[in-house]
Symmetry: C2
Subunit: 321 residues, 2 copies
């Protein structure tokens, strides 16, 4: 490792199995990154201590003085208030915990901030990724669930109850009977997440005997549905159109609330690129209010690093405010 010069920020993205740790320059250059395991035992009580120890080790190895650390930002997979208090986080075993305050205690008073993982991923893309230069943006991460972050006037919309950018759980999808993880039925993520794509394909295979390359496969992923659709499989294409139309409706609905300059789509499924995005784009143009119709819909640029970027940006932003 080479010596890291000048002022730096730590961007920490806490996931259910590993913690991604990034060292950033103040301007947002990723200077170094690695991962440590997430110890979720005993209600996740070791997680912040492990991170603190790792930060101390990284600082020593890289000759980073405490005075050079501008702050530590965290992305957390649960609802987080603007002041850095997490309102419970099932994946980590956490109850209510003030992550910013704990971090300051564990790291000798270094400025700290925390945000929801989807929100900080959006902030990361806004700062140094696909949303660079925009003033407002909405990001959707299409994965197991549907992550979302909303940026207005350059700031993450945390929401009054830590639920800003919970687009995955807006009531939109009709005709479903199975409940969403949140307890309701008809949430956008039930149709638009990767899981939603798989479930829709399974339903469609069951309901008809239309031929499809997906038929008879024991387990398939959302990527298999996308690949099949791209290769001309009519059933898979229909499933993908269904999913993309709901996602587009979600964006059109968000347009009527905050009218963002652009939309950034991330997560595994978005790697299908224009084949997938064009389906969203054409449905969005049809569904959105005319003034918002030309907003760009683009692919995310930072991949799995977006959360680290945004966590770093979050603590820089909170220092400016």
């Amino acid at each position: 490792m080479t010596k890291i010069e000048g002022k730096i920020v730590f961007g920490i993205d806490i996931g259910g199995t590993s913690v991604k740790c990034g060292i950033f320059s103040r301007e947002g250059e990723l200077l170094y990154k690695d991962e440590i395991p997430t110890r979720t035992q005993e209600a996740g009580r070791f997680i912040l201590e492990d991170i603190s120890r790792h930060i101390a080790e990284l600082s020593e190895k890289n000759s980073i003085e405490k005075a050079d650390v501008l702050g530590i930002g965290y992305g957390v997979p649960g609802p987080v208030q603007e002041d850095g208090v997490v309102n419970g986080c099932v994946n980590l075993g956490w109850g209510k915990i003030d992550v910013a305050e704990q971090s300051r205690k564990l790291n000798g008073g270094i400025a700290s901030a925390a945000g929801n993982d989807a929100n900080v991923a959006a902030l990361g893309e806004f700062w140094r990724g696909a949303g660079r230069g925009a003033k407002s943006m909405l990001m959707i991460t299409v994965g197991t669930g549907l992550g979302c972050g909303v940026i207005v006037n350059g700031r993450v919309v945390f929401g009054a109850h830590g639920a800003g950018g919970e687009l995955g759980h807006i009531p939109l999808v009709s005709g479903l009977t199975e409940p969403c993880n949140c307890g309701k039925t008809g949430c956008l993520e039930q149709a638009a997440s990767a899981t939603g794509i798989i479930r829709a394909a399974q339903r469609k295979l069951k309901e008809s005997d239309e031929p499809s390359v997906l038929r008879g496969k024991d387990d398939f992923m959302a990527k298999d549905v996308v690949d099949a659709a791209r290769n001309g499989d009519a059933l898979a294409d229909e499933v993908l159109n269904y999913s993309c139309r709901y996602l587009a409706q979600g964006l059109a609905v968000a347009a009527g609330v905050v009218d963002p300059e652009m939309y950034v789509i991330g997560g595994g499924v978005s790697k299908a690129g224009d084949f997938y995005l064009d389906k969203i784009r054409s449905a969005y143009r049809e569904l959105a209010f005319y003034a918002s119709r030309d907003a760009k819909i683009v692919q995310a640029a930072l991949g799995n690093d977006a959360g680290m970027y945004g966590a770093a940006r979050l603590v820089l932003g909170s220092m400016e405010a």
Copy 2:
């Protein structure tokens, strides 16, 4: 008229038939109000001149010195950018016009700002009405159309294309064939506006021969539907439930984007009070994401004055920024 002392702000709400003019203290007390007609002739070219002349007259009558006028704020019934440029306004005959700039020219350089009428009404309720003390708020005005304004971190969300808070035109309503004014079909205002309530009642009367006090009436208003429902008319109650459920879905969807602290419902229909609001509240609780479920839904407090209040607040805010 008594002499008006101290620094003041003009809050001007431009409607299609009249212009409401208010004189406010810096703290938001309405000191005086009146109206002048809106001259929409010749592409609305006289409107801002008429207002300027009226401001000069009011200032003279009330011994208001130019140095005491902090600013002039305008509410305009069309899309307005954050810099005060109006992107066309059918009701006034305007094309693209920089209202803030024109106002400064006509009024000797006095600070000026303009916003969409629904957005400034929301800002008015936020400043001095039902939203007082909140940090974020969404206001819906149930009238001929469905007006909406969104406040996040104390600021109006104008949107990248002047279309922030266009909740009336989000695609939500299924089963309609007639188009909305905006050209699409299935916009929220087609079910949730006063016009939407009337149309839904007309459809229901046509489709069934269920008895109803509305049957046989040539013309009825949304208020008649509400009154009938309140008096136990089953058909009217069903229509109102339909309308309120869609409105609640609109709020639940907005919750997933900005998660506001509260919702304020204004416009003629909202005067029905809790009988109407309780239908929205119970559907909202069912449809919203759990974290946002307890957000308050309350009646607007400022009536037709909300626009003047918000226009005044807008120019004060733009001076602080």
